[in-house]
Subunit: 390 residues, 2 copies
Amino acid sequence: MKKISRRSFLKTNLTAAVAAAAAGPLFTACSNAANVNRKTSLGSGKMKMSFRGVDLQLRHTFTISGFSRDVTPNIQVRLEYDGVVGYGEGGLPPYMTGQNVQTASEFLSKINLDQFSNPFLVEDILRYVDGIAPGMTCAKSAFDIALHDLIGKLVGQPCHRLFGYNPEKTPNTCYTIGIDTEEVVRQKTLEAAPYKILKVKLGVDEKTDKMLVNTVRSVSDKPMVVDANQGWKDKHLALDMICWLKEQGIMMVEQPMPKTVFDDMAWVTAHSPLPTFADESCQRLVDVPKLHGVFTGINLKLIKCSGLHEARQMIATAEALGMKVMIGCTTESSCAISAAAQIAPRMEYADLDGPLLITNDMFDGIKFIDGKITLNDRPGIGAELMTPWE
Amino acid sequence: MKKISRRSFLKTNLTAAVAAAAAGPLFTACSNAANVNRKTSLGSGKMKMSFRGVDLQLRHTFTISGFSRDVTPNIQVRLEYDGVVGYGEGGLPPYMTGQNVQTASEFLSKINLDQFSNPFLVEDILRYVDGIAPGMTCAKSAFDIALHDLIGKLVGQPCHRLFGYNPEKTPNTCYTIGIDTEEVVRQKTLEAAPYKILKVKLGVDEKTDKMLVNTVRSVSDKPMVVDANQGWKDKHLALDMICWLKEQGIMMVEQPMPKTVFDDMAWVTAHSPLPTFADESCQRLVDVPKLHGVFTGINLKLIKCSGLHEARQMIATAEALGMKVMIGCTTESSCAISAAAQIAPRMEYADLDGPLLITNDMFDGIKFIDGKITLNDRPGIGAELMTPWE
């Protein structure tokens, strides 16, 4: 192997950088001239973390079976290393019991990153963070996203590229229509004009559920999926509803039955004319093998599973089991949504309409172009903070 | 967001690159100044692939139950993109039925990479390559390794860092002692002085197996694992042998019974005082869930599973199932071994002694320092070709 001195090494790199920058993308200069067959540096110093609670304002009062709200609290994380800053976020919807801005902040304040020499030690860092306390997956996910954003920026590549996904293969986002009166449902359906797939929340009772679907169908013949949010307590009702939904052109049903009802749910899936996806039944990695034969697929949400790192392990496990994957979200800004979108190319369905449902998005991130999730080429999660971090 | 013209963008980057290169590692210039919140480029052009067959010369005639050899043929892949070159390799041991230099070359010659705009489309590319023909995992792995090496070099980071592993957490490599006469076994054990863990190949018959272990133990009290290579056909014999091995201070047993014997193997594992690892029973990702409850863990070999990408999915699936992971190899140079070592930090055991057993290693790669697998900071798989590619 040819050996060169540090002096000629630097000279070669700088010459190449100047030539490449004049000729084309800087990436060429960084990777080809400088990084091949050289030692790579990790930067230096310690990681610094800060976090804050933020209230996201909803465009419409949002209702799913059991809850109604106008605002969603949210935890955001800022992680700095070597002058580079990564951001992360986790929604804190009321159904994530015990997780709110106060408990999330308490959790994050326990994280001591001084013990880690650099942010690339992802497995060690996330194992440590996960072990600090059980649960707290919204805060864990906010931290995980900030770490991925930071690493992508340090490496100079979008996460989706580091994950090996084809950014063109993202699905259309579902646009969610909550449980509401006929008039509001009709109005929301019309507002969803730019979006190609509707997701209707069900699970109230048979009559209301049918009203909701019929109301949407009265003004739209778009592809539709439904989320029953554990609403159908009896397996025969669940199957009857699914068969009826199939006739209305629905494509998929999420969480038809209560989350711990596995045997009946396996029976429903075995007889169902539509694919079934686990949402509440599927929280973290260890849940995935248990759902094999119970559901057709799983709905990943970063706030459930603790972030991108574990989500990717769940995707691998689902692939091993022949199960489908989709991704969902809660009310989140373009920070968490851009992070979730990094794995969207691998998803059968994606329900990432969070930023569309709020009025105070402080991040500029991935876009929905004619409803299609559209990734960008920015490093990390592809989101930029548009207002000062306070 | 502040907007800057292309002209001032280039100027800023170059100034930063010059300043940073003068001050310290180029990484700082590449990542911090240039890549943060900028569009990242993919390079341009097409990937170009070539490949060749190579014979690796063994130091000792190697015997495992059923086979004996002095040479191992090997397929090596060279993948070029945008002036950057990645290398990959797959051993072609005789037990990989139907895989030899000719069939591997025929397989690789079918790969048409013109349809892919860049090497980062890992999921698409590997899915396509895997779909060209069933089996052919040695060639597929050689290709997968070259792709990972190329990407690491394009990004300017070692694969282990892109995978999020702590390079300090690599295990000691096992040093393999094949089936041979007492004298040769004793000699090989003494030659293994620098290595901390011995792996003894068994599976001949009870008497020979005990002779092999006793011979090693007569000159060494090092930690030992054994590989029975499917040799024990009866579950009671298997369990008796494992109990006896436990008394000799053996730590783990690989593939005690024939690869398709699952029920009896589950019984053995349930009663075994030692962890059991699947080798021949575990080829690819879809096998992993089927081995839950049958073995304690799985032995990954890149030539079995088609490469690093699938190996990482298998690690995730094993984690979901609470199963342990180890990594093995065949007779391979420092190319394939350096690739396998990228995931070694996650492994319970690592049997990566391939380069130690050959006399014509044409790559300089990861090292064994006092027996410990020692990763380097080079981008990609960390191996450099030391002789011309012909």
